[in-house]
């Protein structure tokens, strides 16, 4: 019972933090709220007993990526620059679009026929544990895993190449 409650509270907090990401005027605040969102999501992962992902989410997202965002923000010193105001019409259109999208998605997902299990409770399983997941990852998915390293290398090279200050590439 408590677990359910915790889950629901976590969910509510996630939504709230996500809203703040979008709505806050200050980019740094957005980043911080996003970090908070990720923490809550990790919490939800834990509630689903997906421990490995919870940790990875924290380390990679909240730790690495978000710090990267912060660095960029600070590097460019964009804080002072106020973001131009979005026209009201855009707000209205975006709200309507988002609302419709939500309704439509819900309508679509609601009708999913859940076949494998009777009842609709999320079960507690142990597949999310590091040991089990590691087994799968390094047996069945070992090749994609290795390929992802190539992806990282190319991303790294790309990032360096792009961000390097060089006269002949720029201007």
């Amino acid at each position: 019972m408590i677990a359910t409650l915790i889950t629901q509270i976590l969910g509510a907090l996630t939504i709230a933090a996500a809203m703040m990401v979008v709505l806050s005027k200050h980019p740094v605040r957005s980043v911080l709220y996003l970090v908070v969102t990720f923490f809550f999501i990790s919490g939800l992962y834990i509630m689903m007993n997906a421990q490995f992902l919870a940790i990875v989410n924290l380390i990679v997202y909240a730790g690495a990526i978000m710090v990267l965002f912060l660095f960029v923000l600070m590097l460019l010193n964009l804080n002072k620059e106020a973001e131009p105001k979005t026209p009201t019409l855009s707000w209205v259109i975006a709200s309507i679009a988002a609302g419709t999208l939500f309704i439509v998605f819900i309508a679509a997902l609601k009708d999913i026929v859940l076949v494998t299990r009777p009842g609709d409770q999320v079960a507690v399983s142990n597949i999310g544990l590091v040991k089990n997941l590691g087994n799968t990852l390094f047996t069945k998915y070992v090749v994609p895993f290795e390929i992802s390293s190539i992806l990282f290398i190319s991303a790294m090279v790309g990032a360096i190449l792009l961000a390097k200050r060089e006269k002949q590439t720029i201007d």
Binding site: A3, T4, I6, Q8, G11, T14, I15, V21, V22, P27, T37, I41, L44, Y45, M48, N49, A50, L53, V56, V60, Y61, I65, L68, F69, L75, L76, L78, E81, E83, P84, T86, I93, A97, A98, L101, F105, I106, L109, K110, L114, R117, D120, Q121, V122, V124, S125, I127, G128, T136, L137, Y141, L151, F152, S154, A155, A159, I160, L162, A163, I170
Partner: protein
Amino acid sequence: MPTSTPINIDFYIILATLLFVIGAFGVMIRRNMIVLLMCIELMLNAVNLLMVAFSSYYNNADAQIFVFFIIVVAAAEATVGLSILILAYRQLRSIDISIFNKLKG
């Protein structure tokens, strides 16, 4: 360590959808490119959440592995995206998305 999460799958569906929609909403109304990138991360996370939920629901590890890969790709994407952003800032001294409309037909 919770041993049981007797919670309805619908909860996760609605939660993930909401997160996704918020992300999309953000992309639509914000003009700061960094925030845009963050909103994209938000949408990715929404999808991740849903996949983990179904993974536990079906007791199937594959989806979690995919979430792992999504995180990997998201990290790479963020790296490249941010460096492009820096490059763009150097060129135009701004990261307002509405300035970048060279693709206008």
